[in-house]
Symmetry: C2
Subunit: 314 residues, 2 copies
Amino acid sequence: MRRIVVALGGNALVRAGQRGTAEEQQANVDLTSRQLAELVACGYELVITHGNGPQVGNLLVKNELAREVVPAVPLHWCVAQTQATIGFMIQQSLGYEFERLGLSRVVATLVTRTEVSPHDPAWLDPTKPIGLYQPEERARAIMAATGQVWKPQGSRGWRRVVPSPEPVTIVDRQAIEQLISDGVIVVACGGGGIPVVRRPDGRYEGVEAVIDKDLAAALLARELEADMLLILTDVPNVILHYGTPEAQPLKRVTVSDLRRYQFEGHFAAGSMGPKVEAAIRFVDRHSGRCAVIAALEHARDAVEGRSGTHVVAD
Amino acid sequence: MRRIVVALGGNALVRAGQRGTAEEQQANVDLTSRQLAELVACGYELVITHGNGPQVGNLLVKNELAREVVPAVPLHWCVAQTQATIGFMIQQSLGYEFERLGLSRVVATLVTRTEVSPHDPAWLDPTKPIGLYQPEERARAIMAATGQVWKPQGSRGWRRVVPSPEPVTIVDRQAIEQLISDGVIVVACGGGGIPVVRRPDGRYEGVEAVIDKDLAAALLARELEADMLLILTDVPNVILHYGTPEAQPLKRVTVSDLRRYQFEGHFAAGSMGPKVEAAIRFVDRHSGRCAVIAALEHARDAVEGRSGTHVVAD
């Protein structure tokens, strides 16, 4: 059986223009789950991971607004919280799709920690904006009160920035593997995983950071020895010269060609950049592996080679 | 190997007088985990479940205070969120205890749904108070705006009340069992589980309720065919004539004697009542089963018969 790690982008959960109510998110997850159930029906073994940007943003806002009444919780707790709610939604709708298809499969959500290094250079330069935009004055007041770092983000104001260190290892890999080997569809490593560092005495400790969910998905796929990393997003292909008259979608590309395009600056840091980097890292020199970046609604066609950008070893 | 379902009471997480900061909760969980690690070291197979009252309360407060800025999430999402954060804390400290003891064991947290019936009489009479106290005027305004039910709770004001239906089945039992059979220590069914009803078309739907964590623990223990249900709380025994000069701790009691004491009104509804009911339901007529209600700090002595109230079949 072919093992696929599926990374769901933000659009699988909250669409542009939505506030992200529970009902909106569940409806989006329902659409996503139909695609995923089809893959399971085709005999693929799935591990599902997902982003959590808007959800973590909302939790941070709640933290701030309620700070005087109930204790604010650390950022890594917020990541944990989104793993549970998004995993729950996926279980609800994927379970239902299996029921409709007459498939007797179990879907489970695992709280997942991802180890990062305390020596990662990202700690020195927080770059990942999260949460609400605020006017400069308010942002400066929050910085003074909490020690958080906020930076100007163009015309919409200032935003909190946090480090985005490299994922080093999936701490809870073994539990994920046990469930997979029992035929369970696992939702894991949501939002890139709860970031933890390993102390010299062996204890893990949560840290104030967020891990890029595509890079974590690539790591997860490598650690699980998946055959495919399927990154589902809102565009059907990786595109060269994006947004220009020379725009050219990539159908099939080797790791070294993709690396060259990356060096040439074709991919935006906040959007296609990490997806391309994740695809490259997963495939690397492994001829048996394939990374696919495709539109959410083409999941099955993408897996079967009829859609998306397929990244293969040289 | 003897299988024990351990139900951790609120004091394992937030102590009297604490606000429930992340640091306070983690420190409490660390103490709890030392007890649990000892049981694992003794060769017992553990499944850990826990309450979440203060944590859900805090999330509801955040929901209310941020309602105008970000969408409030349903109560059952809040339950899911507490499963992740509490499970995470247990994984952090129990994993560390195993490391110190040289035990190579995996701890995993599963998001867990518990089915309730849409016909449960509890829907007609919400009784479980959750979240902040508010003055009557404010409570009435919230009721009018949201459709929530609030009720007077003595001198401290009004509080939201929600239904507390009977747990019918643990929806995610299979995943829990798979992990146990692979030797994993599982944290599951936190806060009684995310309450869901099964629609006629087979789809599960989250509902606005909370499930008693002790009753859910008893159900979990029955469904997992555990040998023991260990309910850890802040008192060393079940006590007859509690708070009077005739107070008498129970060391060993049969189900039918305990049922009689229950009818006689010895156990308070909000505290010892559900623990006693859970113990009775788990043991029932099974001579191979034992339920133990004991103090957190006596966990090992309780399992080995030297502490706590032991409930056995007639």
